[in-house]
């Protein structure tokens, strides 16, 4: 028989009182867990949406336009530098991107991480109309342009397949199976893209090698889209690093939208967490209150324990043990109710978000509620330990 067993027996005798005290903890923990679970689901949803923004980085040739001026008279601009990036620089760029991501994400895998989609833009005439043909690497291109939807026909599958933007197809009256001539190379239309609302609608996409060959641009690309598959990927660092180490190119991070979007989510999560914190604090006062009255109602028991040899610390221990019971109880119930709460109102807050169980919040809920229960008990417990034995008997 140990002290905690005595406390356990006492708790069993005063079930209602203990449950009442636990209620304060439950409400606080429930709110925090509910909010976190909702924020988690909301974040996951926004991350998913962010992926649809496409590449995180764009690498383009470093072209400098120099204004030519004579006094106040403009003589036009002089373009310095190449309009193309040699494809031979892709491995160096990949190396920079991957090593940065590995470092941040602590990945040991030596395989490719970032998706790199090269593009070669060329002007050409199809059926007498000027269009832009884009040479792409079909697989990474598809990953980067996740919003692409091939409405008719199929995606690029062979060296002679081309994909046509919806407007181009409409304007040039092109259909799946038609042949288009790209600088005298005949290619077959494999598919037509659904409308995207972007410049893609006006372009024709063909395998990179075929375009390079047709336009005599072997080993050349116009730009590279880089997509890192993580949202915390250090795109700015990667861009800096590429700019420093790879000559003749300019890397631009395209994360501004993502950033403001995430900032909003963070602000909202913080606001909700503050709400949860306040609820927790209110719960704390509730528990302090119940513990105070619990002390009051047990003044006589405390006197008895003191009279038969309990030290002050042992009296405090009795109350701390009780707080642990309340904390564990409150943590379990609070977690369950908090998750249920998130299920109930999460879809209303983040439209159409599916809430999922977040098991890692369970230890958190347990920890929070135990800390709250113990913190709320310390003051009443110290008060309890200071009651003079004779006074405790007199009061009853």
């Amino acid at each position: 028989m140990k002290l905690y067993q005595i406390v356990a027996k006492d708790v069993m005798r005063r079930k209602r009182r203990v449950l009442y005290a636990a209620l304060g903890v439950v409400i606080g923990t429930m709110t925090v867990v509910g909010i976190l679970t909702m924020a988690f689901a909301g974040q996951a949803r926004i991350y998913k949406q962010l992926e649809q923004y496409g590449p995180n980085l764009t690498v383009i040739p470093a072209i400098n336009n120099l204004d030519m001026k004579l006094g106040n008279l403009s003589m036009g601009t002089l373009t310095v530098g190449d309009n193309y990036i040699p494809q031979s620089q892709v491995p160096a760029i990949r190396q920079i991107a991957d090593s940065n991501i590995r470092e941040v994400m602590k990945i040991d895998d030596q395989g490719d991480i970032a998706t790199i989609a090269p593009q070669l833009y060329e002007n050409t005439k199809v059926n007498g109309v000027s269009v832009v043909v884009v040479g792409v690497d079909p697989e990474p291109e598809r990953l980067v342009k996740s919003w692409w939807n091939v409405g008719k026909g199929n995606y690029i599958d062979g060296p002679d397949d081309v994909l046509v933007g919806s407007m181009t197809a409409e304007l040039l009256k092109l259909n799946v199976g038609d042949t288009v001539m790209l600088n005298n190379s005949p290619l077959k239309i494999a598919g037509i893209l659904d409308e995207t609302g972007s410049s893609d609608d006006y372009q024709i996409f063909a395998p990179l090698a075929s375009v390079q060959k047709a336009f005599d641009k072997d080993g050349m690309v116009s730009s590279l889209d880089i997509r890192a598959l993580c949202n915390s990927c250090p795109v700015e660092t990667i861009a800096d690093s590429i700019n420093k180490n790879v000559p003749g190119v300019r890397a631009v991070a395209v994360k501004q939208i993502a950033k403001s979007e995430m900032g909003l989510v963070d602000k909202m999560s913080n606001l909700m967490l503050a709400l949860g914190g306040i609820t927790l604090a209110v719960g704390l006062f509730g528990v302090v209150n119940t513990m105070m009255s619990s002390v009051h109602e047990r003044i006589k028991d405390i006197g008895i324990m003191r009279a038969v040899g309990a030290s002050r610390n042992q009296i405090i221990k009795v109350f701390i043990y009780e707080a642990l019971v309340i904390g564990v109880l409150g943590g379990i119930v609070g977690y369950l109710l908090g998750t249920a709460l998130a299920y109930a109102i999460g879809p209303l807050v983040f439209e159409g978000t599916t809430i999922s169980f977040v098991p890692q919040y369970f230890p958190l809920a347990l920890g929070v509620s135990i800390v709250v229960a113990v913190a709320a008990t310390i003051y009443p417990a110290i008060r309890a330990s200071q009651i003079r034995v004779a006074d405790s008997f007199r009061s009853v």
Partner: protein, 226 residues
């Protein structure tokens, strides 16, 4: 073993000032059995509480085995309660959620010397409750509850037992049984200070002191045939 010198206890201040004990002195020898009598409010219980360190005195001193105990800190008082002085109360003061056995175990648990259930069983048998060890206080009669309380007082092996009207809530027959138990404990060499209202009970002690208005008005040595 116990010496009480000029102990005064004052409750409250100003007009609410009550002198509960007024310069009381008393000497208790080893193995003594003193009955403390007096009308209600005469300071009997206060006297007992101060001796045992359950209450603080206003002035004077209490010596136990040659050491002052009235000015001890809480932790040192705990040590005294864990082996030298034990209490028996009129209201029994048992923890209602615990069985008789567990109530008696309580001092051992607080003491930290391991809960020796065998020892508790022996003591419960000694006070005549061998078969009721697993009963809760609510399932026991008043006399039985007081036996549990006495067993609890005995378990830490005190040399002085302070009993505050231990038979106050009992009929005469039960009261006498409890008194017999105290007499046996006294024969074993334990000193006993017992507050009582009953002259019949008091007569069976070795000494009687009578308190009135916070002062000892008489001390009598009883040489009765026991």
């Amino acid at each position: 073993m116990l010496e009480i010198n000029n102990v005064t206890k004052i409750y409250g201040e100003g007009t609410a000032r009550v002198v509960a004990l007024d310069r009381v002195s008393l000497k208790v020898e080893d193995g003594d059995f003193i009955a403390i009598m007096g009308p209600s409010g005469s300071g009997k219980s206060t006297f007992l509480n101060i001796i045992g360190g359950l209450d603080r005195l206003t002035s004077g001193e209490v010596m136990l085995d040659g050491h002052r105990i009235d000015n001890l800190g809480e932790n040192e008082l705990v040590d005294i309660r864990r082996g030298k002085i034990a209490y028996v109360f009129q209201q029994y003061h048992l923890l209602p959620s615990l069985t008789a056995m567990e109530n008696v175990l309580l001092p051992l648990i607080f003491c930290g010397n391991g809960a020796d259930e065998q020892k508790v069983k022996t003591i419960l048998a000694r006070v005549g409750l061998g078969k009721r060890a697993e009963h809760k206080p609510s399932q026991l009669s008043g006399g039985e509850q007081q036996r549990v309380a006495i067993a609890r007082a005995l378990v830490s092996g005190p040399s002085l037992i302070l009993a505050d009207e231990p038979t106050g809530n009992m009929d005469q027959k039960t009261g006498n049984e409890i008194l017999e138990l105290f007499k046996e404990l006294n024969k074993e060499g334990r000193s006993i200070l017992m507050v009582t209202h009953s002259a019949d009970i008091a007569k069976q002690a070795k000494h009687i002191i009578t308190l009135q208005d916070g002062q000892i008005i008489s001390k009598a040595a009883l040489q009765l045939v026991r």
